[in-house]
């Protein structure tokens, strides 16, 4: 019996950390751009499948998405040529260079047969810019839209990206190599090394974000636009650039979580959405604005998920998502107290 509890605890914690990276992405995006990004989970899928492709020596389909996205960016910018051809040619040139760099990087990585960690970095470089591209296509053109419009748009993005995933990779699951194979017997409980890798990487990512936003100028700009968008704009902070940066960083965090998760559950086109939603439930605990509370939230989600799957497996998702109701009630009473 005691080993059962240990198993549930370890798995709950591991999953909680995966969701934590998602919650982090959601909070980051929401505070900077006011977008409740339902599509956040899709970067999990993109990260995992890109890594799977790279490890099996195939050209990742993400590369086509990236180059296609860059091309679309150039097309959307076409109006600027008449007004300011210097800037426009510089911009288009930059996009072309970015595309070539991505292609060269992928080719090089495939030729060199990098180890898993190296491939993870390459996959990250391919997936993260997609976040910024999606910001450019869906949020940038309508900066003053209401939150609900952004929610609806993000649902659309989620469906489209998942559809593209199905188109590119098909419905088959891809096995992905872990960072380190095998595991450790801790008492009666077998813990795969991958779980430790998840712990370390998640902590590193969170610490990195903290240091970045506290101690760099760009990070401070990010914070400023999160606190007061209009004020930041008046201070000369390019809020559109910070928005794109927030989307890029969030995509990077989610992709990392996908790459860490994939060796445990394989990579497939529909893996992201559920993970994204569970990260969302955790993030709701902090009202999508509070990092530490969101972390508490995802740990509760991870723990509840693993215990409810044990106690009543048919109802585990129902229980996890029902958690939203008490969380929202609790937040409501809290905000009322604050308002007073």
């Amino acid at each position: 019996m005691s080993d059962t509890i240990l198993f549930l605890l370890v798995d709950g914690l591991t999953n909680g950390l995966v969701y934590a990276l998602l919650a982090l992405s959601l909070v980051l995006v929401f505070t900077v751009t006011r977008v409740v990004n339902i599509a956040q989970g899709e970067y999990v899928m993109l990260g995992a499948l890109t890594l799977a492709d790279l490890l099996q020596g195939r050209m990742p389909g993400t590369l086509y998405l990236l180059i296609g996205g860059l091309a679309l960016c150039a097309i959307l910018d076409v109006g600027r040529w008449r007004r300011d051809w210097r800037q426009a040619s510089l911009y288009t040139g930059g996009l072309i260079v970015a595309g070539i760099v991505a292609l060269a990087l992928t080719r090089g990585a495939l030729a060199l047969h990098l180890p898993v960690i190296g491939m993870m970095v390459v996959a990250l470089i391919l997936v993260a810019p997609l976040g910024a591209l999606i910001y450019r296509f869906t949020v940038h053109p309508i900066p003053n839209a209401t939150t609900i419009v952004f929610v609806i748009i993000s649902v659309g993005v989620s469906m489209s990206v998942q559809g593209l995933g199905l188109l590119i990779w098909g419905a088959n699951p891809y096995p992905v190599d872990p960072i380190a194979a095998g595991g450790l017997m801790m008492g009666p409980v077998f813990i795969p090394y991958q779980s430790f890798a998840i712990l370390v990487t998640a902590l590193l990512a969170m610490g990195g974000l903290y240091l970045f936003s506290e101690f760099t100028l760009v990070g401070k700009a990010l914070q400023a636009s999160a606190m007061n968008r209009l004020g930041a704009q008046f201070c000369g902070i390019p809020v559109n650039a910070t928005g794109a940066l927030a989307f890029l960083l969030a995509a990077a965090f989610s992709a990392i979580s996908g790459m860490l998760l994939a060796p445990l559950i394989t990579a497939n086109y529909e893996m992201g959405f559920m993970v994204g939603l569970k990260g969302f439930v955790g993030g709701a605990m902090g009202g999508l604005i509070d990092y530490p509370l969101s972390l508490v939230g995802v740990m509760i989600v991870g723990g509840l998920e693993s215990t409810s799957a044990y106690v009543a497996s048919a109802y585990r998702d129902v229980l996890v998502f029902s958690l939203l109701i008490p969380i929202l009630l609790w937040r409501n009473t809290r905000s009322r107290v604050e308002a007073r």
Binding site: L166, I265, T266, S313
Partner: protein, 393 residues
């Protein structure tokens, strides 16, 4: 005036009929499969096999009729399936309809074919497509069912002296089908179900369910799912220290299962159709030469390393139709008379006995529109990363 035009039409008809009578009559086999959409992994091989059959028949003059194949795509969508089946029946005037790839699409067209009185051979797994037989007068199917496969596996458990089984299944219609089959078979064979746990394809953790199963202390575990989750649940059971036999449904009988589960799924037992293990069958088994021939044809034509179960299902459906049509024409049925020949074809399909196909030996009857029995289900075991035939002790 009216009488005159009717007479003229009749005369024209008579001329056209007599003109055709010199040639062989034409048999039109219409089919609707999922060439695109989520079920295309099943539908495309099915389409391929029909194409192969058509090519084989092109050089074959022994049949007392010519065969025309009309194939449409339903995009895995029930509405599209119904529309295309209507088109087959009214515009293309098909004698037989082979449709559809999935259970939802096959259920959707039941009404259409039944009202039009057209025999239908389904390629779907679900038993509800052909049962109750009384209401499914016009419907037959070729793929094996959950019920049949679970029976084979539970028989093996009984032989090993296992009294308690734990069920682990997907929480969708596929898993539900397995659960219903397991409940009825276990009851009939006197095996107790001590745990029933559910999971979904998008879950990230399967250990809690595995722990619960281990705690119920079963003699065997049955997993009704498809990869990746079936392989991941298997791994989770190993991880929590369960060491008894683990049985799987036919849904796991593909290469993804082994490439995901790796050494953890060694020794896994799977209910399967003969296609997967035909090479290990004794030469005396009548299925072996039929499958060997089909596999060689299919693998050469479509350049695949190893044939899977899906093309065989439409291949059988096509061949059963041809056999029924041959007998009907020999018995004097005129294929030009659409309504009468459709009804006659249905009766002849129902009368098919001991037909050795790729999916098994078919014996249709007025009470059985599946036609398969224990001779067509096998258990395969994962041995050194390959599916081999498992000899029941």
């Amino acid at each position: 005036m009216k009488i005159l035009s009717v007479a003229a039409a009749l005369a024209a008809l008579a001329i056209s009929v007599s003109a055709h009578a010199a040639d062989k009559p034409e048999l039109r086999i219409g089919s609707v499969v999922a060439m695109t959409g989520p079920a295309s992994a099943l539908g495309l091989p099915e389409k391929n096999a029909l194409e192969l059959l058509q090519e084989q028949l092109a050089n074959d003059t022994s049949l007392p009729f010519t065969v025309k194949f009309i194939t449409y795509d339903d995009g895995s969508d029930p509405t599209k399936a119904v529309n295309n089946v209507r088109k087959l029946i009214t515009e293309d005037r098909a004698h037989v309809v082979i449709c559809c790839t999935t259970t939802p699409t096959s259920m959707a067209i039941l009404e259409t074919v039944t009202q039009a009185k057209v025999p239908n051979v389904s390629l779907a797994l679900g038993q509800s497509v052909i049962e109750p037989v009384k209401e499914r007068h016009w419907i037959f199917k070729t793929p094996s069912t959950d019920q049949l496969q679970v029976t084979g596996l539970v028989d093996d458990m009984v032989k090993r002296g296992i009294k308690k089984v734990a069920f682990l299944g997907l929480e969708d219609s596929f898993g539900e089908g397995g659960w219903i089959a397991m409940q009825s078979v276990a009851k009939a064979k006197g095996v107790e179900i001590v745990a029933s746990e559910r999971f979904s394809r998008t879950d990230t953790n399967f250990t809690p369910q595995a722990l619960k199963v281990r705690q119920s202390n079963p003699g065997a575990v049955y997993i009704h799912a498809i990869p990746p989750s079936s392989a991941l649940v298997h791994q989770a059971l190993k991880r929590v220290g369960y060491s008894g036999p683990i049985y799987h449904s036919g849904g796991s009988a593909n290469n993804a299962f082994i490439s995901i589960g790796k050494q953890d799924v060694e020794g896994a037992l799977l209910g399967t159709t003969p296609v997967l293990v035909y090479k290990d069958l004794p030469d005396s088994n009548p299925l072996k030469p039929v499958i060997t021939k089909f596999a060689a044809l299919y693998e050469k034509r479509f350049n695949v390393p190893k044939v899977d179960i899906f093309p065989g299902q439409s291949w059988d459906a096509g061949n059963i139709t041809l056999k029924a049509a041959e007998e009907a024409v020999k018995a004097g049925v005129k294929l030009d008379d659409l309504d009468a020949s459709r009804a006659a074809l249905r009766d002849k399909i129902e009368g098919v006995k001991n037909f050795v196909g790729v999916g098994g030996i078919f014996n249709y009857s007025p009470t059985d529109h599946l036609g398969l029995d224990h001779r067509s289900t096998f258990i395969s075991v994962v041995k050194n990363g390959e599916f081999r035939l498992y000899e029941s002790k």
